[in-house]
Amino acid sequence: MVCLNTEVYQVNKIREGKKKNKSPEKMTGILFIIPLMIFISVFTFFPAIYSFVISLFHYNPFFHSIYFTGVSNYIHVVESPAFLKSLLNVLLYTAVVVTVQTFLAFVYALLFNTASKISRIARAIVFIPAVVSPVSMSIIFIWVFSDSGLVNFFLSFFGIAPHNWLFSTEFAFPAIMAMNIFTTAPYFMIIYSAGLQAIPQDVLDAAKIDGITSAFARFRYIYFPMMRFSTVLVVILGLTGAMQLFDQIYVITDGGPARSTYVPLMYIYNRTFVYIGDIGLAAAASFVLFVIIMALTITQRKVITERTW
């Protein structure tokens, strides 16, 4: 995640040693931290624990029925075909979207890595979908993928017959993947851009002297290894983001057709609000999702940081 700057920490430590009169600083520090701690405790930590507790109960707040069930919610969730289908979908989605968006983000960053005005403006334009709400983008893309939309329009030049992409079990999910790659690649491009800017010019000059002149060699020996931290970040952020896919699915397909776009959050939402009944089940599903996200994040981090190219 966000890296702690060890150097600054050390500087802080040295600095702290020099201080004599600490008590007003102590007071101010504690005072300054109180609002954040209240908000985090009440609206993040408490719900996290509460969530786990609920997952061990059968709980229906609408009919005030509540009793302890132990792990049976978890068993029910992992045995439920709807949840398994949603998990399978989101894993496929993650594999495709994270791979493609990471690659594209890097390509975009390389493309816009010049100091000119054209690059700056183009980069800002490309970035716009990343600040627009997923719901707005979804509304636009319902049209883009509709039978009278842009995609069919461009495909018609190649003689491909119009298709109602979002209503087909085969193409609805790939269409949503494409839309999300379109919007998220620019966001991650910024992380790569920052990484590219941090490469000192001397390194590039030294490489030139060493005979690394082709674009491919530069990529292979300089950009790729030096961008490793950025890649870890982009992959992990992309992963957690992809596993939380919801807004677009809810707005565009509502999980259909025939559950082809069903995702875990859809399952969780439906369990709470549509098949009004068992909130414990929804909470258990959210914890299963959490564990999967954590496991993926940790393994990704290990694989990427331990392997040396």
């Binding site: 890296c3 600054v8 908000f39 609206f43 930590f45 996290a48 509460y50 690059s119 957690t240």
Partner: protein, 295 residues
Amino acid sequence: MLSTGKKVYARPKRSMRPLLKKTIIYVLSIVLAMIYLLPFYWTVIKAFRNSIFANFPPNLNPLSETSLSYFLANLRTVWSFGDFPLWYFNSVFVSACVVAGSVFVGMLSGYAFAKLKFPGRNVLFYAVLATLMIPFPVISIASYVFMLDLNWLSTYQGLILPQIASALDVFIMRQYFLTIPEEMELAAKIDGLRPWQIFFSIDLPNAKPAIAAATIFSFIGSWNNFLWPLMEVHSLNMFTLPLVLNFFKGANGTQIYWNQMMTVNILTMIPTIAIFVAFERYFINGISMTFSDGR
């Protein structure tokens, strides 16, 4: 800083290759930007049209069938649809409160984590870090039940308060305060200023870029938030714009009136895009600042 690019060194051998390379890069950049503009371009021209359906092939000519009076008519229809002005106000009010709250909270704690020594600082900082690992959907069910218990469903406080604690804002502020040199504060300390006085009179006025970045981030996050309002709001008069968009989509049965829909969409997107265009530098620096590595 992203805005300052690499230096262009004069090359001893002059050939056509760099020029060609530059041209290719520019052409590709412009083509990519155009691809990215296309959906928005269509949204805008659709809002300036009278036809309510999507026709095939799409008419992408900006001058045909478009007129300002059509747009104004669409705007009037949309504005008088349901409680649209109230919904717009809800979005503005909720976002304003979230921004004010989370920037203020982030400012104080970011400063404390960066510059002040107090017992338990590291443990608490790791606790804040840990909140990043808990995705909101995981706690959303419990938050919803919590709001239900408090009887806060469909209220402003229910919408606003859970969005205030933002680890991202804390990080942006902390990273920034770490870059402010100690000497500045030392001088103030010698003059006998107390820590909170140093914060308000010296460090805070210098933190404008970080405040700008935190403001933009929390504004866009809260303005675009969909899942939490969807769970928390059960009455029409508390709707925020993303909910309105989704509501509007189903409002005419299966038939979407594309031109009105796109007018709502423009009204929803304008604040975020305007803020992004105006403060692009802060926004992009904010991302690189938050996710910069400790190399």
